[in-house]
Each structure stands twice: as structure tokens, then as C-alpha cells.
Amino acid sequence: MKVIVTPAAANQSISLTINDRPETVTVPPRTTLAEILRDHLDLTATHLGCEQGVCGACTVMVDGRPTRACLTFAASCEGATVETLEGFKDDDLMDRLKAAFHRNHALQCGFCTPGVLATARDLVERLDTADEVRIRNELSGNLCRCTGYVGIVESIAQVIDERRGLGLPSTGAPRVAREATTGFAPFDADIAERPPAPAVSSGTMTVEDGWSVVKREVALNHSADAVWAHFSDLDAVAECLPGAKLTDHDASTFTGHIGVAFGPITAKFEGEGTYRTDDSSRVGTVAGRGKDRGGQSAVEGELSYTVRLAQGDPDASLVDVGFRFRIQGMLGQFNRPELVNGFVDYILAEFVANCDAVLSGGEVRESKGISAFAMIRAVIGGKLRALFRRT
């Protein structure tokens, strides 16, 4: 069978075997196996929940192994043998599982069922004996909102027993038991000295009503007058902020964008804001909001800074930086204290180095982009964890 999908320059033709039938689909490379099945071959038993590998609804057999169809891209499917719930024809174990699910009320709405059955099929084949704890642990990658798993676990256990009754051996590798330790004889370990870890920054990071609030004290080796002159000039501040660009501003409002482009993540927040400076108290505030078009996130925040004299050194000053922000949308999981700390410190370090350079008559260092590695962690880790938590 040949299915032709809207031709586009980058389309690829992928040949694979699905439920014992050879298929060829012509799809863009970004197409996932789940989409190939659902949108191009009308095999809609394979469900999509999270599209992040967490919920298990899309689990199908690829070359005999349960695989997340939402994380498998078209080109990787070339030559693959895929079995979906529509298949499994004359599959004794699957037939037994379906009967057991029926018997044990192992499904209600059925949304999780195709993925659960793929996992169950694998477990029945792999597990030597029906061990409830093991079955439950192995099922942790398939979320079911309805059943509470009781019937599912029971069904899998029953079919494992049936398989054993038929004299069919399990295919799984036996688990190696670890030997108990009896301790060891004392010895002098050979451990090379490592350079000390970088200093931990001073300051706090808290989350208040969904806003991240960061406070830092930054020291600059320039007089408070010079620093204030620099900090009260929005152009100068923006120039020192890695990734930031002002497109326009008047005495109190501005438009611009800030790019976060590091590691694999890219986000570009475009927006507008207001700013205020007070020469007598040397306090500045910048407030703004922006949207990341590509990533569909929004950020709003307020930055305030107070320039103070450093005690005992006229050529040095301290800046109290306060930053209050919240991010919504895809990048919204950014509000995790430990991660934000690392991220903010990185930006601040770049910013301070730039300010230092400019105040010393030099140029802004070429920014390699903000190290958003901290952010990736925040986003992916947080996003996944948020999903786990909700379950």
C-alpha cells in the first residue's frame, strides 16, 4: 500500500512493516511513528498523551520491543517491523491478555490500554514468574487514570502463569542478585587532589506566589559615580546584558528582545517595558514583558538595582540586584530555585564582566550566549517531573 502525503521538499519515503503488512509512507522527517500510524495509516489504536515519553500511551512494539512511538522519528523507522494493537493476529499471548483484561476489568476508558497491552505483552514474555511488585514497577511507565492498576496487574500475573503452564520459557535475562558485602580491610586510597569547586555565589532565590525572586550583591571595581552613570543609561545596560537588544526607547519606555541561545535550546523573548532611574538614591528599575514566538512562552519581570559605595574604597562599589520574574508556557518550569540560581549567576557573571570591561574603557566581550544549560534542565526536568507529580 502506498500513502502519499502532501509533498514537501524535505519529505522522505519510509518503508516499514506494520502488523505484517509492508507499508510505504512519504512524510517529513519530523513525523513521529505515532503520527505515521495515526494520521497516515489510520491505525488509531496507538494513543498520544504526553508526547514526551512519560505516559506510555503510544507504546508499540518495534522490532519486538516496546518502544515509545512519540519519540521515534520517521527516518529511524526505515525497515522497522512494527506491531500495534490492530495487529497481533494469531498471537496467543495477546489473545490471552485481552481475555484476562476483560475478565479482570483491567480497562475503563481504554485510553491507556493499547500502550498497557504492549507493555503487558512484553512482561508476559520476559518475566519468569508473576511477581506483583515487579509487575507494578515495570508498569510505572504506563499511566492509567481509571483503573488503579489492580485488574491490569492481575491480568498480567494470570497470563504469566498461563504461559508457564504451557511450558513456555520466559525470554528475559535473569536478574543477577548482588552478593552481600562483608566489608573490606582498611587501605590508603589513591585519590588525586582536584581543584576546588567554584565559589558559591551569595544571595537568595525564593519563589513567592509563582514569582521567582532573586537577590544578589555584585561588587564592581569602579567608583559608585561611574557605575551609576553606566547603570542609569539603558543603552549601556542592555549592551552588557548577554543576548539583549533594544530596538527602540524613549525616556521611560522601551521595546526590544532578549535571546537565549545556548546548547540545544533557543528562545527569543520579544517585548516592551518601562524603566525609571533615580539619581539621588541611585536606584533603577526596569519592568517588562515579552513573548517567545517559537517556543510559545511568555515572560514578565522587574529588575531593580541600587548602586552603593563600597566601604573603605572609593574606587569600588556594590550593586544590589533584585530580580522578580515569572515565565509561563513551555519554559514555565523555570521557576525552580536551584536551577534559577545557577542560571542567574551565569548571566550575572557575564553581565558584571561586561560592565567591568566597559567601565574600564574596553568592549563588551563577545557573548557566547547565556548558558541555558541550566534552563534546559529546569524546563525538561521540571516539565517531566511536573508530569510525574501530577500522576
Binding site: 514526551q52 518502544t67 515495570e138 543477577v176 533557543t266 517531573r385
Partner: protein, 274 residues
């Protein structure tokens, strides 16, 4: 969400992979179990994806002399099940099976996990504890070795440069006889860790290492504690562990510290039973 459009190349050799990776915005993909979600969330927007998980060179596991070498594209599930007739340290098989879920383990690779450098990921801490070396191939086809300790610079930050490919992970074969403890605390089986404690003692190699993982940063090495533990063959007290954590992680919340302390003390108890 659909990822942004990209071209997907599956080169037949490492040389061709080097070439495919020269593009500015090209990304390696191994199992796709970490980069996949990021593509779907559009956090990663590459123009080219270069798949390397089918390359034979990256799938071999062998022992040469006293070094065990595990190809970067070997999957977690392969390590969980044990590979052919190569004797893998039990610690590896134990760690592998606590990673994610079987469907994810069937695709996710050890090299991908180390390259991704999620602080809460299991291999990052386990391989640091075992004193592994990474064999890394650069864009010009030259190889170098980097110890795991120090390879990870911070959350999602490693010593890898654009075009670099992790080829293999190497361990002294003697690590198969090491005493070890690996404890991962998470709320749900298969989830990323909230806390990791890992201990490896191999007296024959005069080797002792204590690692604290899932700190939101690179794995933390408690060398002084490891030295003392080897010298006395007694476990540090909970207060000593807490003190060390407080000194190294002043920003950590009390809850985090308690979790880390619990994971580490459990790992130590596996090596020095009380």
C-alpha cells in the same frame, strides 16, 4: 507539538557522521529519549538531526587487556539484560534497570545519557563513581579520553564541543570486583532521581569514591570522606554526611539535603554493613 522541520540523516559510518555534523545547527541523536521530548516541546530547533545509534562501532562491548569498553550506543536495556559473554559489573546492570521504563530503556543509550548530562540522570553519577573514562571523537576524527569526573561541567553542560561524538565508555575490568552501593531516591519507579548516593571501593586498585548526585549540578565527589572511609573501613555517621553536604551544597534546601543524606547513607550501608 510537532518539532520544527529538520532533515534527518542516518550516516553509515563515523566519518560520514562527522561530515553530517558540520552544520551549524546540527544535533546528534542516539536513542532520542532525551532529545525527542525537547524536539516535541520545540526547546531544540535543529536544522539537521544526525542519528548514530545504528553505527556498529558504537554498539560493541569488549574487554581489551584490563579495560572494559562499552560502546556509546549500547542501550540501557542491553546493559540491564547483560551483553553476550562480556562480564559486566553488577553495578552497571543494577543501575541500568532503575533508569526510566523498559520502553525508554530499549532506545536510550549510555552515551546519550552522558552527553545529555542531566544532573539527575543515573549514568552520570554511576560512571563518575566508577571512575570511567569517555572516549570522544572530535569533528576531525581524532580521539581523546576524558575522565568522567570533570567531564560534566554543570547541569546540561559538558566538555563536548560541536561535532564531538562519545564513542565509548571505558572502565578498568577490576571494577567488576569492586564493592559498591548505588541508591536512587525518587517518588515513582523509573522517574529521574531526587537524590543519588553512589559508593565504589576497590581495594586492589586503592580506589575509593563517594558521589552525591541529582544536586542540580555535576555529581559531587566527597573525596575526603572516601579517603577516610578507605583508611578506617568504617562508615561515616549521619552527622558527618550531613556536615559534608552542608559544606559542599550551602544553597541546598533542608529537604534536598535530607534526601541526599538518606541516599548516600543507604549506599554506604551496602558497602559497610552496620
Amino acid at each position: 507539538m510537532k518539532p520544527v522541520p529538520f532533515t534527518h540523516e542516518i550516516p553509515k559510518s563515523l566519518q560520514l557522521a562527522d561530515k553530517a555534523l558540520t552544520g551549524d545547527n546540527s544535533k546528534v541523536m542516539a536513542g532520542g529519549q532525551s532529545i525527542g521530548p525537547m524536539l516535541n516541546l520545540r526547546l531544540v530547533r535543529p536544522t539537521t538531526i544526525v542519528s548514530i545509534d545504528q553505527l556498529d562501532e558504537l554498539q560493541t562491548v569488549h574487554i581489551k587487556g584490563d579495560v572494559l569498553s562499552i560502546g556509546a550506543a549500547v542501550t540501557h536495556a542491553q546493559i540491564e539484560d547483560g551483553i553476550d559473554d562480556v562480564d559486566l559489573p553488577t553495578m552497571l546492570r543494577h543501575v541500568a534497570r532503575s533508569i526510566a521504563y523498559r520502553a525508554v530503556r530499549n532506545k536510550g543509550t549510555i552515551g546519550g545519557s552522558l552527553a545529555h548530562a542531566d544532573p539527575a540522570a543515573d549514568w552520570v553519577s554511576a560512571m563518575t563513581a566508577l571512575g570511567a573514562q569517555l572516549v570522544i571523537r572530535n569533528a576531525h576524527g581524532k580521539s581523546r579520553r576524558e575522565p568522567m569526573a570533570g567531564f560534566m561541567r554543570g547541569a546540561y553542560r559538558t566538555a563536548l564541543q560541536q561535532g564531538d561524538i562519545i564513542v565509548a565508555v571505558e572502565l578498568p575490568t577490576a571494577m567488576g570486583k569492586a564493592l559498591w552501593g548505588y541508591e536512587k531516591i525518587c517518588r515513582k519507579v523509573g522517574e529521574f532521581a531526587d537524590a543519588i548516593g553512589a559508593v565504589v571501593i576497590q581495594p586492589d586498585l586503592k580506589y575509593a569514591r563517594i558521589v552525591v548526585g541529582a544536586t542540580e549540578d555535576a555529581p559531587l565527589l566527597l573525596d575526603d570522606m572516601a579517603r577516610e572511609m578507605a583508611r578506617t573501613a568504617t562508615a561515616p555517621s549521619l552527622d558527618e554526611i550531613d556536615g559534608a553536604l552542608a559544606a559542599h551544597l550551602p544553597g541546598a534546601s533542608r529537604v534536598k539535603r535530607q534526601l541526599l543524606k538518606t541516599a548516600l547513607s543507604r549506599a554506604i550501608a551496602k558497602v559497610i554493613p552496620s
